[in-house]
């Protein structure tokens, strides 16, 4: 475990992008910041600017209009970057499957590193997914 990958795995800065979700997953992500869950324990901070972020949490099926912005935001993220699909509808468009204005999930637009399933995701599961991802990052060379 090199110094750099150690630092990366200990300092995940998060940006959150909602691509047409129902809000439930968004508020659960927000709940992760609050005292009961407190993901700052892992060094995670919610960042407003995508340029500062390492991990992009995407909620929601990708709607037609959001698609291009999602791509743009993804391109603006500095490497190394990870995308986490939070919730069923980000994973596979879930309950919105078949609607005329949505794509079937985030991975049909940008590459996704990890999927966190749930509708909405329980905050513990977000933490679980995040710490799993961080462990993986830390283990990579």
């Amino acid at each position: 475990m090199g110094l750099v990958s150690w630092a990366r795995s200990k300092s995940p800065w998060i940006a959150h992008f909602c691509t047409g979700s129902c809000n439930a997953c968004d508020i659960e992500i927000l709940a992760c910041l609050t005292p009961r869950y407190d993901i700052e324990r892992f060094g995670a901070v919610l960042k407003g600017s995508i340029r500062h972020a390492d991990i992009l949490l995407v909620t929601g099926p990708v709607t037609r209009q959001v698609r291009d912005r999602l791509l743009r935001i993804y391109e603006q993220m500095p490497e190394p970057k990870y995308v986490v699909a939070v919730g069923t509808c980000a994973t596979s468009s879930g309950v919105y499957r078949g609607a005329y204005n949505v794509y079937p999930g985030v991975d049909s637009v940008i590459p996704v590193t990890a999927y966190i399933s749930g509708c909405p995701v329980k905050p513990e599961n977000i933490i679980n997914g995040l710490s799993f991802l961080l462990k993986k990052i830390g283990e990579s060379k």
């Binding site: 709607t63 037609r64 209009q65 499957r97 078949g98 005329y100 204005n101």
Partner: protein, 155 residues
């Protein structure tokens, strides 16, 4: 006489046989009027009956055209419906009477292609920027083309 019947009676007094269809449910009154008295009826309800609150406007494609239905009122809800032709659907805008109608009319304009005359701002509202002109997702014909039931296998 119940409240619903009372309102219906007054409407009939004011507009006579312009009200050519009506239906009553608990706390709900549905009346059908021809397109040219649509805004008059709403004006009457807003100005004389004080039903300032517009719930929303529903647009439905029915067999012989497109139906526009304005739902008014806070407790008792009066729905004023009217049918317009499918080819060049046009309806009078009620924004001057109820400014809050703006967004509802824009939505119907986009999703069903109804043109509201004298609407202040009939711009794109809900559909994405790259949505093709002249395709109206809530039309029945759209369903057959784009929205076939999706039962593909798991990828």
């Amino acid at each position: 006489m119940s409240m619903e019947e009372e309102v219906l009676r007054e409407l009939k007094e004011a507009f006579g046989d312009k009200i050519f269809e009506h239906k009553i449910q608990k706390m709900r009154v549905y009346v059908k009027v021809p397109i040219d008295s649509y805004s008059d009826v709403i004006k009457y309800l807003v100005l004389s009956k004080g039903m300032y609150h517009l719930e929303t406007i529903t647009g439905i494609e029915v067999k012989d055209g497109i139906e526009i239905m304005a739902h008014l009122g806070t407790g008792l809800c009066i729905s004023v419906r009217t049918t317009i032709g499918k080819e060049t659907p046009k309806a009078p805008s009620i924004c001057d009477l109820i400014p809050g109608a703006e967004f509802y009319e824009r939505e119907i304009h986009e999703l069903l292609g109804v043109v509201f005359e004298a609407h202040p701002n009939l711009k794109r509202f809900v559909l994405p920027d790259d949505w093709p002109e002249g395709v109206y997702p809530l039309r029945r014909s759209f369903e057959s083309k784009h929205n076939a039931p999706l039962r593909e296998g798991f990828e």
